[in-house]
Amino acid sequence: MSTVIAEGVIHVTNDCKACDHCTSICPTGAISGMLGQKHHIDPRLCVNCGQCLINCPFGAISDASSVEMVRQALNDSTKIVVVQEAPAVRVALGEEFGLAPGTNVKNKMYAALRKLGFDRVYDTEFTADLTIMEEGTELIHRVFNALGVEGFESSGPLPQFTSCCPAWIKYAEDKYPHILPHISSAKSPQQMFGPVAKTYGAMKLNVDPEDMIVVSVMPCTAKKYECDRPEMIASGFKDVDYVITTRELAEMIKADGIDFLNLADEDADKFIGLSTGAATIFGATGGVMEAALRTAYEILSEEKLDKVEFEAVRGLAPVREATVEIPVKALGTKLPVHVCVVTGLKYVDSVIEDVLAGRSTYHFIEVMNCPGGCINGGGQPIRRDTY
């Protein structure tokens, strides 16, 4: 296991049997090598999603690991180490300990993180709510701009794409730079957590942000790349220091001999521990869209939603579309919002090309790289028996 992210996050190890299966999994064609020839990942094309890793028949693809650095920080008494966990982690971590997929072990996970030595255990859901408030508001502004409402002229064009999947962002930057104005300017929940922790959090905890280490537990290997992006220094420091995956957290728990299944339930630390159900569904395809629609609906209609679920955007089809009628109180009319959900970068090209050619009728498009969303991310437990 590599400990330094030098040339991309994902790499093929010497155990490669050259079966060539991974080239069909990779959404960007970053993997080269013919049948019988050891394969290689081009870090320039790789979006670090780790789908090849979890689908390799021989476990011969590996991701760069920061576990040793996290261990060092935990053992350093001069540092305060805070941790955040994405919604998709809590329903997958249990698989590493023999529980059924989908078992919610968040309270045991909080307890395990404290046993590992983390000083504060927070939850990414709070900043998932921040992301969706930003993204939902930005969508409203873009709609108002498109409708010619005064005061919104500087808002971006429609449709708006979601921005929380780092694999999707790298793909757009690499292949479709002209689509970037359409992508929401909101940071992902992980990268919103970092500066909040190192500014507001550090102030509340009365610690020097320089002495604070922010660790993320993510279902996603691309998050390792995202936290290393040079612009992610809003706090004046590296916003998120290290990312570990669900698998790596399980390895740490096992290595420390923690009896995970028999841990007493604990709660997350509170000051940024509160969140909504909209944040929880971020981990599934269509979740961000549904959360944004809830926000947009309530802001535009100025009404409380009786039924918060927008089931039209749920499902597992790679491309799904729906139209949601949202009453806009300020305009005294109902606005049909056309939305699209894409899961799997292989399916996004035609959607982008329609947008760039001016043919798209959508207002809001959610794009997630991994099939089914973050829940099936490259950092999740590998369950070969479920293939």
Binding site: D20, H21, S24, M34, L35, G36, Q37, N55, P57, Y387
Partner: protein, 219 residues
């Protein structure tokens, strides 16, 4: 001096040709497979590198399948007799197996029980080779042709079956080669399969007594 003179045709031309084709294919498949499974460049470079070794492996695999298939289609009756022979185990075969036909140094055998055209050991080998070939073929082609669509777990299983079957077959064929070409008691059969197809009648009468008696009855 033996009273039995002359020669017996044991393997006809098409059988010998099929055996040659299968043997050459087997050697190429074994070498290339070992080369890229264990990443031994000194072997794969003979074939132009790992990717080309794989290409040679796959197309040799096609020949490995089509060679015997054509032979079976052209010689179905003969093949049926072969299957009938190798799948029939008599008391003499069991007795032969108990003493390993006298091929094992520490088991003394005065006179091995009379054997059919193939002795009990050859019958077992024949059966194992057929099963092995089927496993290799049934796993090899999916590994090649459906590598993008098969689930990872199934693909992994195919590789494991393909690899371990190949290892067992290499050991079996190694043993077969030793007995057929090197062992002093049986190497006289080497020329029969690899060259003219004939075996001395005297040797046949000794090694394949039951079959020899059958041949005499027919005559």
């Amino acid at each position: 001096m033996s009273e039995i003179k002359g020669k017996v045709l044991k393997h006809d031309q098409q059988t010998r040709m099929m055996h040659w084709v299968h043997l050459i294919c087997f050697i190429i498949l074994g070498l290339t497979g070992i080369a890229f499974y264990w990443d031994i460049n000194i072997i794969s470079n003979i074939f132009g590198g790992p990717a080309n070794a794989s290409l040679v492996h796959r197309w040799t695999g096609v020949l490995f399948l089509t060679g015997p298939t054509i032979y079976i289609l052209l010689n179905f009756e003969r093949f049926s007799r072969f299957i009938d022979t190798i799948s029939t185990f008599t008391k003499n075969d069991i007795a032969w197996l108990k003493t390993m036909g006298g091929y094992v140094p520490f088991i003394k055998v005065e006179h091995a029980p009379p054997q059919d055209k193939y002795n009990a050991g050859q019958k077992i080998l024949g059966g194992l080779i057929i099963i092995g070939c089927l496993l290799i073929i049934l796993t090899g082609f999916p590994m090649w042709l459906w590598r993008y669509t098969l689930p990872a777990a199934f693909l992994s299983m195919c590789y494991n079956i393909h690899f371990w079957t190949a290892i067992i077959m290499i050991l079996l064929v190694g043993g077969h080669f030793f007995l057929a070409a090197i062992h002093p008691k049986s190497r006289v059969e080497f020329a029969s399969m690899m060259m003219d197809g004939y075996v001395d009648a005297e040797i046949t009468a000794h090694h394949n007594e039951s079959w020899f008696n059958e041949l005499q009855k027919v005559e």
